[in-house]
Symmetry: C2
Subunit: 364 residues, 2 copies
């Protein structure tokens, strides 16, 4: 077994999920992640906790979708719900045999399934959960890389000194928490302002996501003004939207376009009222993620990028007791900040051409 | 996909487990049985029931064994227990990557694990459960057959007309239920008598085991007299015992030997008091199982054989409210009845040289 797989398991168990003796730990992983599954079960056992392996197989999920289960009845799947209720820790490993296995499932069926799955999902989110990626062949193919290269990429992004990364990111957290008005400019196409007044910035240090490597907050929903061209492709339910463009007035998207699959973007924006407002502003800070791989778990943490999500805001970013922007969707979109770009907070440039003010090479 | 895999899934779902709409169905299957897992999940979905796939991987179980979990604490594995409690149906598929994966686990550890696992096992036995086999490479190798041949063998044994098989077996059930004294003779080495007075004979028609294909009952524990040479090898926790021989007096094994691994047999017999008494008499009646494959799920149903288990009796065979022979073990051992052999019930020959009295070619 590649020793990096054992390292990956140890980071997941000890750093991300902080597994302790006696914990009931579910490892949700498909056959394509077999080696990591084994390493996880061994490591969990060594900690005196109880591993239980279930399959997150997309093939089987597809079978569930395509067959005669009425999606509204899925909340009767008491066995899966009981497992989620009884779990202390839930480690979900993504790995695919074929990333296109869901391509025949309509977006209506998908949406109905996701709605019906919510009670189970909520129980899982009540555990100490973590989402990670195993470098399976199909995922390497989707990233347009050989499997060997992709392994290097994935383990590079994951196998970091997470305490050092936390300290690095904390510098940006302090800037955003102390700040109010954020101004993001990239080329001629992106020039947007928003308020983050009163919001909390989260330091994503490899806990719920491995890799971690971003800081994120919630904009004041009606404060967003200006336009953004998301120059990295957006993959939504298997469809690639290119050059997504949106223009905000009083926080609301009042104009949009895309050079490819514009109708997918339109559909997302029409989901509900909240789908036309921003729910998240995130800043990628994982310098080992140096290329786009069509996988949001990595892409949104890429150094030299910011991302904005239309739709639902995260509770953790909001003032105590306040609800933020609400929506059934949360769709992240990425702006490349490597060239001809800057981020200002309250009038001070804090990043230029991808380099933060607290990094070497910064030119204010 | 081999269409026989889809047939196998349908027999499991419709005949063995009688899955109905709304049932919570657990499919416990390792990666080596991936195609059957997919076919099962699709078929279960088509019936309007809820498939949930968990892994029965021996590798992971081994990890659990070998690591630092104190076996006595395993009943704290509440997540697995909760799943078993909430399940209506439990389909367990055997398939191996390597049948020797447990070889480094000591028999003490194995026994401690099995004891600790009992609460979960009992919940599974409270569901509508079925145990079956997928013809994985490692299992074919263990059967000393090519995978292609082994597939033919497995699907031949499984893909039967189970209603016809039930009627065939019912003829033997009627003989044993009406009878009292059973006398089994094979060659010079096996000559044993026992009473089945008051016991119920079970017709194994592919419900809890697929393949099914035996009828079995419980001997009156202290009625067994004589000697038996089990001329098919006994595989106990990975160890092969050859030519196991036992002699009974007043039901108890008072003498035993084996030509290979006699100590394993001795250890089994010394487990507890009940381990020296018979718990089961079974008669193999699946004519499509025509060879020994070192797999008790098949071997005990082989036509032309009888098997006897030392240890625990099945409740279903006992008179209402009576407890039969009790033991922590239940170890099946097989006698080849193809040649120079007969079974008498109350003095009448009911099988000679493997042919039943209700079959063509019987010579009373």
């Amino acid at each position: 077994m590649d020793p990096r797989i054992e390292d990956h398991a140890e980071i997941l168990v000890d750093h991300s999920a902080s597994v302790e003796a006696g914990d009931n730990v579910v490892v949700s992983a498909p056959p394509a992640a077999e080696d990591l599954t084994l390493a996880l079960c061994e490591t969990i056992g060594e900690r005196g906790a109880f591993p239980f392996h279930v399959s997150g197989r997309r093939d089987n999920t597809r079978a569930t979708f395509l067959n005669a289960i009425a999606a509204e009845d899925l909340d009767n799947a008491d066995h899966e719900l009981a497992l989620a209720e009884a779990a202390d820790v839930w480690i979900h490993v993504r790995a695919h045999d074929n990333v296109a296995n869901m391509s025949a499932v309509s977006s209506e069926t998908m949406a109905a399934y996701q709605k019906a799955y919510m009670p189970i999902q909520e129980e899982i989110l009540d555990t100490t959960w973590v989402l990670t990626q195993f470098p399976a062949d199909a995922n390497a193919q989707n990233a347009e890389m050989s499997t060997r290269e992709y392994e290097d990429f994935v383990y590079g992004a994951i196998g970091k000194d997470w305490e050092e990364q936390e300290r690095f990111q904390e510098q940006m957290v302090e800037i955003l928490d102390a700040g109010s008005k954020v101004h993001i400019v990239s080329g001629d196409s992106t020039d947007v302002t928003m308020s983050v007044e009163g919001m909390t910035t989260i330091n994503d240090k490899g806990k719920n996501n491995l890799p971690g490597g971003e800081v994120f907050t919630a904009p004041v929903a009606d404060s967003v003004e200006g336009e953004v061209l998301f120059d990295k492709p957006l993959i939504h339910q298997g469809h690639e939207v290119e050059d997504a463009y949106v223009r905000f007035e009083n926080g609301k998207v009042v104009e949009h376009s895309a050079s490819k699959n514009e109708d997918v973007l339109t559909e997302v924006l029409n989901t509900d009222e909240g789908a036309r407002y921003l729910g998240e502003l995130g800043i990628g800070m994982n310098r080992d993620i140096d290329r786009f791989t069509y996988n949001m778990l990595f892409d949104e943490k890429m150094g030299d990028t910011v991302h904005m999500a239309i739709g639902r805001a995260y509770d953790a970013c909001l003032p105590e007791g306040e609800s933020g922007n609400e929506s059934a969707v949360h769709v992240d979109m990425i702006v490349d900040m490597a060239e001809d770009s800057y981020i200002e907070v309250d009038g001070e440039v804090v990043q230029r051409n991808g380099t933060f003010k607290f990094e070497d090479g910064f030119e204010g």
